[in-house]
Structure formats: C-alpha cells, structure tokens
C-alpha cells in the first residue's frame, strides 16, 4: 500500500513540508519511489507567471540526452526563459545515472487557441518521451504544461527532498501532491511513480486497480494521443478523469459515476437514473476495481478525492479555510495542517467525491446518490 499526501493552501509553501508530513505515514511505503506534483508555482529566482510561461519537468540521464532535449525544444520553437538549477547532493540519490534534473520555464507560444496549445504541449511531451525511449531511456519527461512541476525519483521521500535541496524555499507552490511508493506488481520505473499527468490533469492513487488490463486496452483503442504508457495500473485513473472531463465534457461529479457506478437498484431510485444507467453501459470498460483512493488535481487548482466502491482504502481530508490536506492517514493530515479543528476532519465513504474548490473556503462533499447539474445531457 502506498501513502499519499496532498496539501493545498492560499499561501505558497515549500514542497518539503509535504515530505515531512509523509514521514508520519512512513510504514506505508518502502522507498521504491517518490512522486511530486506542484501547482500554483513560484520561484525565488524568477518571476513566474502562469499566463505567460510553461514548465517542462523531467530528468536527463546523460549529457547527450540533455543536449538533444535542448535542441528539440528549440526546433519546436519553445523559447527558454529560466532553468531551475537544483542544488543536488548526489550522495543521497540511489540512482547513479542522473545527469540533470529538469525544471525549465519556457515562453508560452502566442496566437494559438487553447485546444491547439494543449495539443502542442502534449505532442512535445510525447515526442521527448519517445525520443528518450529510443535512446535507451536516457531522457524522462514528466510534464510540459503551464504551472505544473513534476519530480519523480527512486528512494525515500525525505532523502530525495534533501538530495534536491527542496527545503531551500527556492520553489514554492499552492498545491503539492506527493506519493511514497510501495512497489507492487510492476518494476521500479520512473514513469510508474504517481502522480500521473495528462494535459493539466493529475491523479495519484493508493491501491491496486485489478481491472487494469481491460481498461488499458479500451483506452488505447480510443487512439487518443497521450493515452499510452501504462507502466502503472493507476495511470488509467488520470486518463479516465481526462476522458470524462475533457473528451466527454461531463461535470466532475460524473467521474465517480464512471469509475464506480451505482448498482441498478440504486440507479432505479436516482433522479438521473436513466441517464446514469446509459452512461454506465457506455463507459462500462472504465469501471475500476480493487481497493483505491484516487486523489486528483485540475488546472484551476481544485483538488478531489474519490474512493473505490467498497471503500477499501482509507483517506482523510481536513483543514481550515485557506489550507486543506488530503492524506492516506489521519496522522498525515495532522502533520500537514496542525492548526485545524481535527473534529471536522472528514473520511469519505464509498459514495463521496470530496472537492476542494480553488477558493479553498470550504470542502464540497458530493454524494453519488444526489443529483448533479448536467447542463448537457439531462
């Protein structure tokens, strides 16, 4: 079982805080990997603006890869504005082939529609990823998007934080997702570390998706660019969220109805039951299985948490207006936001979707049994 922690706050904070918070839940991961995703980013050495800049995150494992990356980005017309240099203490990093950790800021190209830009960013990311794979895996690219930094590394979370000097406050963020990995059925691979990212949407999961193969086969069959990889059985959660919200244009509440639909008897009583039954049938191959707590974040900085249909995984959300945390265990929430009222902590049940809206004023707890506004189809 892995451990997950997410913190979202109005005032940017250091990702190191979340890593320390994860220490509280240490028995739940085995040092096989850490994944970090930052949103609402600010740099001490650069005046970052979401509207103007893009960030590329990854790792170059050799100088040649680093040079290629540079060349490809230039050829694709992306103009570099800032290159964040981590103060790396490589003694603390297990892997010995890390030439350069990449967090680079580029100028956002002008004159493109939102969809065009999003596609271009994804194409560039996929191109770089493929280029790395063609060169013996010497280049790993996690995300290329505005306002998102991703770091993934093998090892113990706090040690990786120390190794990259994340406690120096040079990078801060308003939303940080972190996963300490417990290696399960797939080999240690940087791409297999959560969170998973596609076009601004990110999820991380605690658990095992036993319906992985049929879901993966269906997503691949859609031939949607970016629906690939699948080094981890949890990667499909991110892609389903992307599919539901961006391809089907359904409200966020429908995510839960797609991955863990209600039973027929329950839908027979639901005000939108007829529609939801049809949706369940049409999206049948996206029903997840196994014990899972899925934590996601969206480009507008809203955060969400949904449980598997049997609530076989724990997860708690707690906080106060302005700062909220979601973690696998209560002690994780306690470590991240000590100055809250713990009696208001909430542990979602099987039917719940917990949403922390971008204004961070209060939690939205939405039950699957409740109707939702479905402008489009209802």
């Amino acid at each position: 079982m892995c451990r997950l922690a997410l913190k979202t706050a109005d005032i940017p904070f250091s990702p190191y805080e979340v890593l320390t918070g994860m220490e509280a839940m240490q028995e739940g991961y085995d040092g096989s990997g850490l994944g970090l995703l930052l949103r609402g980013v600010s740099f001490a050495d650069f005046n970052y603006k979401k509207e103007e800049h893009l960030i590329l995150s990854g790792i170059a494992h050799s100088e040649a890869a680093f040079q290629r990356l540079h060349k490809h980005m230039e050829e694709r017309g992306f103009e570099q504005e800032y290159d964040h240099q981590f103060k790396v203490n490589s003694a603390l990093i297990e892997a010995k082939d890390r030439y350069q950790y990449i967090v680079r800021v580029y100028k956002k190209p002008q004159g493109l529609s939102v969809a065009e830009l999003e596609d271009r960013l994804m194409q560039a990311r996929l191109f770089l990823r493929k280029d790395g794979e063609q060169h013996g895996g010497d280049l790993t690219v996690f995300s290329f998007w505005s306002d998102v930094i991703m770091i993934k590394e093998v090892g113990w979370p706090l040690e990786i934080g120390d190794a990259l000097g994340l406690n120096d406050d040079r990078i801060k963020a308003r939303v940080v997702m972190a996963q300490g990995r417990q290696n399960t059925n797939y080999g240690i691979n940087l791409y297999a570390c959560h969170p998973f990212f596609i076009q601004g949407i990110a999820t991380m999961t605690n658990g095992e998706n036993t319906a992985f193969v049929p879901i993966k086969e269906w997503l691949e069959g859609k031939r949607i660019p970016g629906y690939m990889g699948y080094q981890s059985d949890s990667e499909v959660f991110a892609h389903i969220l992307h599919y539901v919200t961006k391809k089907l244009n359904l409200p966020l509440a429908c995510y839960k109805h797609v991955i863990t639909p209600l039973k027929t008897e329950e839908l027979n009583k639901h005000p939108q039951g007829e529609f939801l039954k049809g949706l369940r049938t049409a999206c049948r191959r996206l029903i997840i299985d196994g014990p899972n707590a899925v934590i996601g974040t969206l480009p507008d900085e809203s955060c969400l948490l949904v449980m598997d249909q049997k609530k076989m995984r724990p997860a708690t959300v707690g906080g106060r207006p302005g700062a909220w945390a979601i973690a696998s265990e209560m002690c994780g929430v306690e470590a991240l936001i000590p100055d809250r009222d713990p009696s208001l902590d909430f542990q979602p049940m099987r039917e719940h979707t917990v949403i922390i809206p971008p204004d961070r004023k209060e939690l939205l707890i939405w039950s699957q049994f409740d109707p939702f506004t479905l402008s489009q189809a209802a």
Binding site: E217, K222, L279, D289
Partner: protein
C-alpha cells in the same frame, strides 16, 4: 460338431463384444421382474429361454454324463437398430442391481455399420471427444496478494451481470442523448444464458420446468437468467405472458413458429429479452435445424404450422437473393423494426475461421446487438455424426480472435460477444464460463450442462445415450411422447435450475474475489489467465504456466 460353413453371417452381423456397451446381467440376482426390458428405450435387451449343460459324474458307476437345465435369462440384441446405448435405465429400475451396461474398451465394430439403409449416422447429443478441454485447463492465476484487503466472496457485494445489446461509444451516446435520438436497447442479464433448445427438441415438461426455474431465478433469487428458445417458436401462452421478458426468441432458416409469434406481437405484455437469428450452430455448421418425424407431435405440428409426423429439416442458410451479409443486415433490421427497436437482435453463428469477417460486418451494422459464436463442442437435438464430431471450430481461440479484433478497433464494449459450445462439458461450468469471459466473452450460452444438471440427461462424450433425435429420450427430456415425458416433473426441473444458478453465482464470486474483482464482470481480463500448454497460451495470448 456343426460345420462352420453353415453358420449364417452377414457383413453387418455383430456380436455383443462388437458393441460400444456390453450388458452385464447377473443371473443369481435377477428375479425376472422384466422392468429392465420394459424401460429400455432401444429394446436392446430381451428375456429368452436358454439351455444350460449340467455335467454329471456318477462315481459309483464310474460314468460321466450330462443333464440339461432350462432357464430364463436376459440377453442383448446385436442388431444396429437395437444396440444398447449405455443409458443405464435398466440398472436404475432393477430392484436387485442385477443388470447394467459396461463400456466396451475394445474397438467398436458397430461403428462401421451405423449407415444402414444408406443413410449416414444421425444422432443427438454432442461431439464424442472425451477428456479435458482447453477451457478446463485454464487457471485463474493473478491472485491479489500484495496490497489488497482481500475480497470476501461470502460477504462482499459483487456485480455479476452483463450487457446484451449494442452499446454506443460514450461520445455518441451523449450526442444522441442530447439530440433525443434512438439509443439501442440493452439488457442487463446474468452472463450464463440457457442456450437455444427448441420447443420441439425439448419435451413440454422440460420446457415448462426450465421456464419456471428461470422465472424463479429472476423473481425470487434476483439472478436475471434468460433462456433462448431455439428454432420452432414458443408456446402461445408464454408469448402472451409476463415471462416473455426472460426469453430470447430464435428465428432460424426454417422460420418455424414465427407465424404464431408475429400473430402474438400485438398481445404481448412485455418485450422478449432479445431476438437471436440463427445462421449456424456449433454442433453442425452448415446444416440447418432438424426435427425428426418421431418428435413432430400434434402440439409441435400446431406450433410450427406443419402436418404431424413429418421430418422438419431447415435449410442450411437463410433464403437470400444475394449474400449472407445482405441477409444478416436485412434480417437484423427487420426484426428490430418488428419489435419497435426496443429489443436487441443478434446473430448466432458457428465457430469458424470466418467468424472474424462476420464480426467486422456486424460492427458496421448499427442495429446488431451482439454476436454469439457456437463452438464445435456444442450440442444438438439431431445431426449427422460427422458434423458433430468433425465439423466446426473450438470456441476458445475463435472467441479470443474475435475479441482481439474488436480490441484492435477499440470497439470491444460496443458489440458484446457471447460464446457457446462445450461450456461445462466436463462439469466445470463456472470455470469454463469465466475463462471465456476473461478471454473476452460478455457471457456464455449453456445447453447440455443445463440438461445434465437440471434434468438428469444421461448423455456423455463416450457415446452414452445421445438418442435425442429419435424421441425415445429415456429421461423424458427430449421426447414428445407423453409416456416418456411424464417421467420428468417440471417442478423438479425448476428446482434444479434454481440450484444450478445459485451455485454458479457462488462460484463466480469464488473466482472473482481472489482476483480482486467485484465491481464489474472481468470481461477480457486476460492477465488473470494461465494454461499449462505453451502453444495454447501463445494462441490465446495468455500466460504459460507449469
């Protein structure tokens, strides 16, 4: 001494050791009650007087001699038409365990003479190839051991149902929903379907028992089982009853029974579960249905709209002007229209290397609700032995191929594939069915297993019984003779149907729980399968385990 030349022999003269089943009769136990000879469906045994020599030795007179005793004993006919079929009815009625058939492990001379009068061997039943099938050898080996709190088959909730009917891609579903356009009908059903067995092939008691059992499963046990009729229509009272919703009506190339169905449409209380258009059958590909004259009783004649006591062979294919594709398309559309586009319509074909082409055709037909592929191990009420034993394609690789074809096109959720043909052949019905589901089937159709488990059919793959075609079914399952079918109590059949489906439900959970699956039927979960044969593993795209 009798001269050998005077022994009369014909080419087809056989002795008891030439037959597949040899009757063993224990004189010392027999009371000559005659029950065995009365019950024997083949009149294979008869009472006869025999003479026995009793050696006599007179010691005082130092003389040897003979005395003779006469006795009544039971003997076995050796003529082909009276050959014992090993059904075992004689032993089941014998009060003293004095008689019973024993399989002859020697060659079967009789096999060379089954074509008397110039007609090749016809029979009912199944492919006579015993032994483990490929499906029997598949193990579910992806057990969640690392991170899960395990599922509890006894306490957790499981979604076991499947969908029958055309499913739209999500984008198209939403578009039509928004535009208020037609959305193809679907049914949520239990993935084990009682496969097509016609009213005609089955006796009225068997049919009634099955229907009663199915209704009980649906209405009391909450297991949405459906059953298919096979060719030959459906009793008029069923057509007008609320039970019709549990029934898949089959239309086949003889169109038998459809006058009655069409007439009933305006009076139907509910829609049928689906319409199955039979293009082929696993047991006898390229052959139409066959109801032999023995079974065309008054009731059957009325239902099918034919005279009594005539053979009813359906043509091998549907009458069509141009091509099968065209007729598939037209029939699916016509049938959809007849039921107001509210009932899924799908074709049934025999397992074949051409199944993939049929499938690709259906993918492009927006009204096609599913595809049922029936493999070589499927059963039948009547067919030529050569069709049953040697014609067709085993279901496992055929189904897998078709599923992977859909996966390659990204349409595996749109046309549900149903598989049939040998599911439960050796009694492992749930294991076989779940293996097919994980290979990509949305569900399976089961026929012979249901007859064996719910009605006590005696047939097996070693040629036992398998006389379903001639109307002499000793259990009353496939006979239209009231003397025979009254042996079968519909209530008992219904009880067994309920038992069988309840236990399939339990076994499904016992298979799914260790795999960590409970939210949806694990269709296409091929990562959970392994087989102890490297070639089969490669062909099916699953793991080789040993």
């Amino acid at each position: 001494m009798v001269s050998v030349r005077s022994v009369y022999t014909q080419p087809s003269s056989l002795t008891f050791s030439d037959l597949p089943w040899i009757i063993q009769h224990r004189e010392d136990r027999c009371t000559l009650c005659g029950q065995c000879t009365a019950v024997c469906p083949k009149q294979a045994i008869y009472l006869t007087y025999r003479r026995q020599r009793m050696p006599k030795l007179d010691i005082l007179q130092k003389k040897r001699g003979n005395e003779y005793r006469h006795f009544v004993g039971i003997r076995q006919h050796t003529a082909i038409d009276k050959m014992c079929i090993g059904c075992g009815m004689c032993s089941s009625v014998c009060p003293n365990e004095a008689i019973g058939p024993v399989p002859n492990s020697n060659e079967h001379r009789s096999r060379f003479h089954m074509d008397e009068k110039g007609d090749a061997w016809k029979r009912g039943g199944r492919r006579n190839v015993p032994g483990k099938t490929i499906l029997d050898r598949i193990a579910f080996d992806r057990i969640s051991m690392l991170t899960d709190p395990a599922l509890d088959a006894g306490r957790h909730e499981f979604s076991l149902n499947t969908i029958l009917g055309r499913v739209l891609p999500p984008e198209e579903f939403l578009r039509r929903q928004l535009a208020g356009e037609w959305i193809p009908p679907t049914r949520e059903i239990f993935p084990f379907v009682i496969g097509s067995m016609s009213f005609g092939a089955l006796s009225p008691n068997m049919w009634l028992g099955l229907l009663q059992g199915v209704a009980y499963c649906n209405e009391v046990l909450g297991i949405p089982v459906v059953m298919a009729t096979g060719e030959g229509g459906c009793p008029p009272w069923v057509l007008r009853s609320p039970f019709l919703k549990y029934i898949i009506l089959q239309i086949a190339s003889g169109y038998f029974g459809w006058d009655e169905i069409i007439r009933a449409i305006p009076e139907m209380q509910c829609d049928p579960a689906a319409i199955e258009i039979k293009y082929g059958q696993g047991a006898k590909p390229g052959d139409g249905g066959l109801l032999m004259w023995f079974k065309v009783s008054k009731l059957i004649a009325r239902l099918r709209g034919v005279p009594e006591g005539v053979d009813l062979p359906s043509p091998p294919v549907h009458q069509t002007l141009y091509s099968i594709e065209e007729s598939v398309m037209k029939m699916i559309q016509t049938m959809s229209m007849a039921f107001g586009f509210r009932v899924p319509v799908y074709p049934k074909i025999s397992g074949s290397t051409s199944a993939k082409s049929v499938l690709n055709n259906l993918v492009r037909n927006p009204y096609a609700g599913a595809l049922l592929i029936d493999g070589i191990d499927g059963g039948t009420g009547a067919a030529y032995n050569v069709s049953m034993d040697a014609t067709g394609h085993p279901i496992a690789s055929n189904l897998r191929e078709c599923y992977l074809e859909l996966v390659a096109q990204g349409r595996q959720n749109e046309i549900p594939l149903f598989a049939a043909g040998g599911v439960g052949k050796n009694g492992n019905v749930t294991q076989n069915g779940m293996a097919l589901i994980m290979l990509g089937a949305s569900g399976v159709h089961v026929g012979k297993y249901i007859m064996q488990a719910c009605a006590g059919c005696l047939g097996n793959e070693m040629g036992r019984c398998n006389v379903c075609n001639t109307g002499i079914c000793p259990k009353g399952i496939t006979s239209q003779n009231p003397k025979l079918y009254r042996r079968l109590d519909p209530d008992d059949v219904a009880q067994r149907v309920a038992d069988v489906f309840s236990s399939i439900r339990i076994e499904m959970k016992k298979i799914m729980a260790p795999l960590g699956r409970s939210q949806s039927l694990p269709i296409g979960m091929s990562d959970a399968l392994g087989i102890d044969d490297a070639d089969a593993a490669e062909r099916l795209g699953i793991k080789y385990i040993c």
